[in-house]
Symmetry: C2
Subunit: 66 residues, 2 copies
């Protein structure tokens, strides 16, 4: 799975820490997701969706190995 959270975050002009606080996770969680170190839960994806004001499918995509 790939994501464009870094881009969406840049559009909002906020830091990893700020985004983390908005959705109630740690900064490292945001950092790890941006770095594709692990796959977030659907709740987290929906919270990002609400903050980015875009559907989940816009910034999370399946790749071949999925």
């Amino acid at each position: 799975m790939q994501n464009t959270i870094k881009v969406e975050r840049a559009i909002l002009g906020i830091t990893q820490d700020e985004l983390a606080k908005k959705i109630g996770v740690s900064r490292q969680t945001i950092n790890s997701i941006e770095a594709n170190r692990y796959v977030p839960s659907t709740v987290l994806a929906l919270k990002l969706s609400a903050i980015f004001n875009k559907p989940v499918n816009d910034f999370f995509r399946l790749t071949d190995q999925d």
Copy 2:
């Protein structure tokens, strides 16, 4: 988080076992998600999105306790 997977599955007219096999998880995983026993990963949500041919936000929604 709430979901309408049971409805989407009924639209396709397939069993929990068939849906599970389509997305490569166990039948119990589908059963547990439909029963809201736990929150699936975003990869799983995207796979369901592909099979239902609908965006994730259509069948997964945040609730107050999220």
